[in-house]
Symmetry: C2
Subunit: 326 residues, 2 copies
């Protein structure tokens, strides 16, 4: 409804949620410190000077550093050149790594909610700060957990990438949201959230400010989303009280995935409106968590239609029943 | 230019093309026949009745069967229902498997071009036939090679999926192509192909009717595309002479990937205009081949901007130098 995208729920191949429990014992790192890990407490000289550190005095709890292997470079300009018919832009951009915890073998699912709140606070401060660069138009905050999600570094970390361009992948759903707003006078995401709460069977939990659910058009088994129930287009506007609340909700969802599916690899992404659109009435920021337990193949790549072998109601029911007090 | 999409060529992480050569010895199946393989010659009773078989008499060379584990069902209707705010459609669709060869351990890179021509002919016949169903609006032809590309079946096969909907992933580039046509009076893909041929450094090979190259905005190392040099919006219009020519080009590209990168997993996709638009002046069918040797992570999923650690010029140079007469 928000993006006009379609997902196929595959009845012929439908699997039971517990078919996706990952093999072997819990597979995180065993050691709390590793000599050559650039993110471990004591190895700070292996990274570039931090752009953010908390607390400012004493041993740090969260530390944000420029990405040493950044695909983008903040010192370049944003000029675009035509090479024949092709448009070429200099690789301007800002890439930072949020080192989430001093301890190597922690993961969000096993951190305290207080600590998760510190990480969420770092996200906000960096989004605000990076957004002041007038060449930045889109800020993507994300976490890659495990090799199938695209990371080889075990130490808990997430990333922030700021780009000068708003790509079609982001622009197209925005255009749909604008059309919806023009037709109905309402934020399409606010309506969708209300509808999920009303239908109830895909909900994971609801807090004062947030709601977490497996969405109606989930693209893959156990896809989870967290939306603010209040209208807000950008994560950078989140208040301290909302951060405390989000920390509880995020921890709950990640712990359900962690203990229910035996520490699956996953990506999560915080999607905000482009910079300058944070007060808009037609967009809504959210978090999406995508366990990497199925493979997008030629059909998905070619059509953009995803085949999901578990109904989101079943994913939600499975996750609701996980005992997270382990 | 055609889709307004952006790709980041990552200088800081840039890798040499031979960093991507896959480990270990050639990893295809050893046996030419397996007892329980539903696609092997002699095991025809393990599949549903074929929708296409070539030749019609004597032992088959190519065989097309309905997908036994289809995510879509041709007997359903296409009605759409609203569940609250959400749009729900019955899972109408047609899914077929093209069994490309009677022999289990063949792969396209090691087949004769004559045989590849038979497969390409089967694609065309099935696209024409399936397209006659008035509920079908999009036909995607694709091949998943290897587990990282999403297949567990080693026997050489490709797939055809027909859906009633044209998803935004397909519609958005179409809208861009229409705008380009309205502005310039030309097919954007025809212009892009001319430009690639003029710039030359990303070209893999050119034949009478086709050109293969690593595109300017390649999303991943060794992404290859094959376009007809003549304007045509749908694969279903391909002639016999063009099929013979395409077989040579496709074999050449796949053999370069196979021998150069040690049989990497890959997806290929043939993308045509939606049914009914096959004569349009603003679209152009093409084939895209994506080796699965890098992982899309949170940033790619969140922004749709891909980070490619090998410049397409370098990918093309590496592939041009592969000795495929092994």
């Amino acid at each position: 409804m928000a993006t006009r995208e379609w997902v196929i729920l595959a009845p012929g191949r439908r699997k039971r949620p517990d078919d996706f429990i990952q093999p072997g014992p819990y597979s995180g790192p065993e050691l709390s410190y590793e000599d050559d890990c650039p993110f471990c407490l004591g190895n700070e000289e292996l990274t570039i000077e931090p752009s953010y550190i908390y607390p400012e005095e004493g041993p740090w709890k969260v530390r944000v550093v420029p990405n040493k292997y950044a695909a983008l470079d903040p010192t370049l300009d944003t000029s675009r050149t035509k090479i024949g018919h092709f448009l070429y832009a200099n690789g301007f951009g800002i890439a930072e790594v949020v080192i989430e915890h001093p301890i190597h073998n922690k993961t969000m699912a096993t951190m305290s909610t207080d600590h998760i709140g510190l990480i969420l606070g770092a996200y906000r401060e960096r989004q605000i700060e990076i957004g002041k660069n007038e060449n930045v138009n889109l800020i993507t905050i994300f976490r890659n957990h495990g090799p199938r999600a695209g990371t080889s570094l075990a130490h808990p970390h997430s990333q922030i990438i700021a780009t000068p361009m708003v790509p079609p992948h982001v622009r197209y759903p925005i255009e749909q949201a604008v059309k919806y707003f023009d037709n109905h006078g309402r934020c399409v995401y606010c309506d969708m959230i209300e509808e999920e709460i009303r239908q109830k069977d895909r909900i994971l939990l609801e807090s004062e400010f947030f709601v977490a659910f497996c969405p109606f058009a989930a693209r893959s088994p156990f896809e989870c989303r967290i939306y603010p129930k209040y209208h807000s287009a950008s994560y950078m506007l989140i208040t301290d009280a909302e951060i405390d609340d989000l920390a509880v909700v995020l921890h709950d969802v990640l712990a359900r995935l962690h203990f229910g599916l035996n520490n699956p690899d996953y990506n999560y992404i915080i999607r905000s409106a482009p910079m300058g659109d944070e007060d808009t009435k037609h967009l809504h920021w959210y978090m999406v968590i995508i366990p990497k337990i199925s493979t997008a193949a030629g059909f998905e790549i070619g059509s953009g239609i995803y085949i999901n072998s578990v109904a989101p109601e079943d994913s939600a029911e499975f996750l609701r029943e996980v005992d997270i007090e382990q």
